[in-house]
């Protein structure tokens, strides 16, 4: 029988450590596939966050550095400015990127650093146990917003829209991981963002709407339904900027 699909070589056969139903594993898979398809495994350095995103280090067969909380874009800047032949990408969650690391992402984007940032938005602090994130929806419960987030805690921050106010970024897209169709679109976006770095085009920002069944206190299936009904409604999917499309 012909083998038409198998695990990417870039994805190690190791325990990922993610909770059942968590979509981080899907990101690890599509990132590994993109790295394999582009043939850049030995040149790749993943700059990883603090939080669940860091667990990708246990399965991704590339070099990696886990940055301090929120600082991945700064670490990636120092790395890419000096190791210019390497392929660098940053991977951050919503607490990491939109809360403690807001300055670093804004300024890396504003400088148009030549690397992509993958931003995983699941509206919650996962690893620390379900605290409110800057992207938590109004009404969504968290361990630090037990009755649900109210405007007193601020409104969900829309990072694609915020980064779209800057001149330098070349590619900004928000994707979702709630369905196979959306996952394929996300993979395509990631590949395009990675190509932008390889072609020296500059800064790309891919937001990936994700889930957290454990801290949302939902079954995996229910969490997907919640994403479709609430998360995507708050965070519209789509391309927010594509300067590269104009060039092509």
């Amino acid at each position: 029988m012909e083998k038409i699909y198998s695990r990417s070589d870039v994805l190690l056969d190791a325990n990922m450590g993610y909770c059942p139903g968590c979509l981080h594993g899907v990101i690890a898979k599509i990132v590994a596939e993109v790295i394999e398809e582009l043939g850049i495994r030995d040149d790749t350095i993943a700059v990883l966050p603090i939080g669940c995103g860091a667990l990708i280090s246990s399965v991704l067969d590339t070099d990696a550095i886990i940055a301090l909380h929120g600082r991945a874009p700064a670490v990636a800047t120092g790395l890419k400015r000096t190791a210019t032949e390497k392929f660098i990408f940053a991977y951050q969650g919503d607490g990491d990127l939109a809360s403690i690391g807001l300055a670093e992402i804004m300024h890396a984007a504003n400088r148009g650093e030549n690397f992509p940032v993958l931003f995983v938005n699941n509206g919650i602090f996962g690893m620390t146990g379900g605290q409110m994130a800057p992207t938590t929806l109004i009404g969504q419960k968290a361990t630090t917003a037990k009755s649900g987030r109210t405007p007193l805690e601020g409104y969900p921050m829309h990072m694609c829209e915020i980064i779209s106010t800057l001149k330098a970024p070349v590619y900004i897209e928000r994707c979702s991981l709630d369905s196979p169709q959306h996952i394929l679109a996300a993979k395509k976006a990631i590949k395009k963002a990675f190509m932008n770095e390889i072609e020296g085009k500059g800064f790309s920002f891919i937001e990936l709407l994700s889930n957290c069944p454990t801290n949302w206190s939902m079954s995996p299936q229910k969490s997907l339904e919640y994403m479709r009904e609430h998360t995507i409604a708050e965070f519209p999917l789509g391309v927010y900027r594509d300067e590269t499309a104009k060039e092509d």
């Binding site: 190690l12 350095i45 700059v47 990883l48 603090i50 860091a54 280090s57 246990s58 067969d61 590339t62 070099d63 990696a64 550095i65 886990i66 940055a67 301090l68 600082r71 700064a74 670490v75 990636a76 800047t77 120092g78 790395l79 890419k80 400015r81 000096t82 190791a83 390497k86 300055a103 670093e104 804004m106 300024h107 400088r111």
Partner: protein, 356 residues
């Protein structure tokens, strides 16, 4: 070799370039601004990269990135900035990464005055950050010594795979003096094996750095490796200058700019027939305790701990070295106010009077 007349901060920056530094990230803060200003022009000339970081935090984290890539990298700041960088400093040490950090000290806790002072001794030497890490700390007292120590700090940092701190002060940074610059070292990116890789993958060809090691036994193992590194530095790198100490009855202990004033005071006191001497720590960590341990309590009547700091900070290490055998008196100015040699002489004369 010819001498140049250079301002301390610019000389520090040029010494770094000659030591092979090819990446600098920093945030504006007085009194060190000439370092980033100089390097913003100088690094691109030699194929290096300069980034004005959006913050002290970003700057030290950019250095972490450059260091991971194998580039000789540096950042500089002053006290408040060093506080902000301390998480990054802890991480550089925890990762076992080489880098050089310069603190051009200013006056006071909080924001503090922007003039030169020596207010960050304890921060520099007692692990100014979490996790009990150590930095190899050099304290220059002249512009020439600042050049020499910065030049050497890069090698030391790579020898031990540990960050080095240059603890200068606003006076050293601002003063202009003749300096002889060292030759250019070859600036080659050099990837090094990352120790923590072994905890994350069984592929030795990969480089994986994480300073969060979830497995307790592995974290403990790594902590032991780091402690051994600190032990090696403590054994090999202690440096101090001893001046007119053989027959000294009154010993001034001072580092950096304070030690320059102290040296003049020692000479003035000798002219007056007072047997004064000086111990000048050059490495603040590891501290030259031995210089103090070997002082003979039957000969030395008093020690004056002289520092541009109020309250005194250096005195904590002198106490450890003296073990209560000899009285220690602290005299300090701070916030940009500086003692004259005459003022220091008077302080020692007071001690002489007390002992009569």
């Amino acid at each position: 070799m010819s001498k140049l007349f250079m301002k301390g901060n610019e000389a520090i920056a040029e010494a770094a370039v000659r030591a092979g530094c090819r990446f600098f990230a920093g945030y504006p803060i007085t009194p060190q601004n000439e370092i980033p200003e100089y390097l913003s022009k100088r690094l691109p000339e030699v194929g290096g990269a300069f980034v004005q970081g959006e913050s002290e935090l970003a700057s030290i984290n950019m250095v972490i990135g450059a260091a991971f890539g194998g580039t000789r990298a540096m950042t500089s700041s002053s006290g408040p900035g060093l506080s902000l960088k301390s998480e990054g400093l802890s991480t550089l040490a925890a990762a076992g990464f080489p880098a050089v950090v310069v603190n051009v000290m200013r006056g006071g806790p909080g924001t503090g005055s922007i003039s030169g002072a020596q207010m960050d001794y304890l921060q520099a030497t007692k692990g100014g950050g979490h996790g009990g890490f150590k930095l190899l700390v050099f304290a220059p007292s002249t512009v020439q010594e600042a050049v020499d120590l910065v030049y050497e700090a890069f090698d030391k940092s790579w020898e031990y795979m540990n960050p080095c701190l240059i603890l200068a002060d606003g006076f050293i940074g601002s003063i202009m003096e003749p300096v002889e610059l060292p030759p250019f070292k070859e600036a080659k990116r050099q990837e090094f094996p990352v120790y923590t890789t072994r905890f994350f993958t069984d592929k030795p060809g990969r480089r994986m750095c994480a300073t969060m090691i979830v497995n307790e036994a592995e974290q403990e193992q790594w902590n032991r490796v780091q402690a051994q590194r600190y032990e090696r530095i403590a054994q090999n790198e202690v440096r101090a200058e001893e001046y007119m100490l053989d027959d000294a009855e009154y010993v001034i202990a001072a580092y950096g700019t304070s030690a320059r004033v102290a040296k003049s005071a020692v000479r003035m006191l000798r002219e007056k027939g007072i047997k004064a001497g000086l111990i000048r720590p050059i490495t603040l960590w590891p501290f030259p305790y031995q210089c103090f341990k070997k002082l003979n309590e039957k000969q030395v009547k008093d020690i004056l701990c002289l520092e541009l700091s109020i309250p005194p900070q250096l005195i904590e290490d002198i106490k450890i070295g003296i073990e209560g055998r000899i009285p220690i008196t602290a005299y300090g100015r701070s916030a940009g106010m500086i003692f004259t040699a005459e003022e220091v002489t008077e302080q020692v004369e007071k001690l002489v009077g007390k002992n009569k």
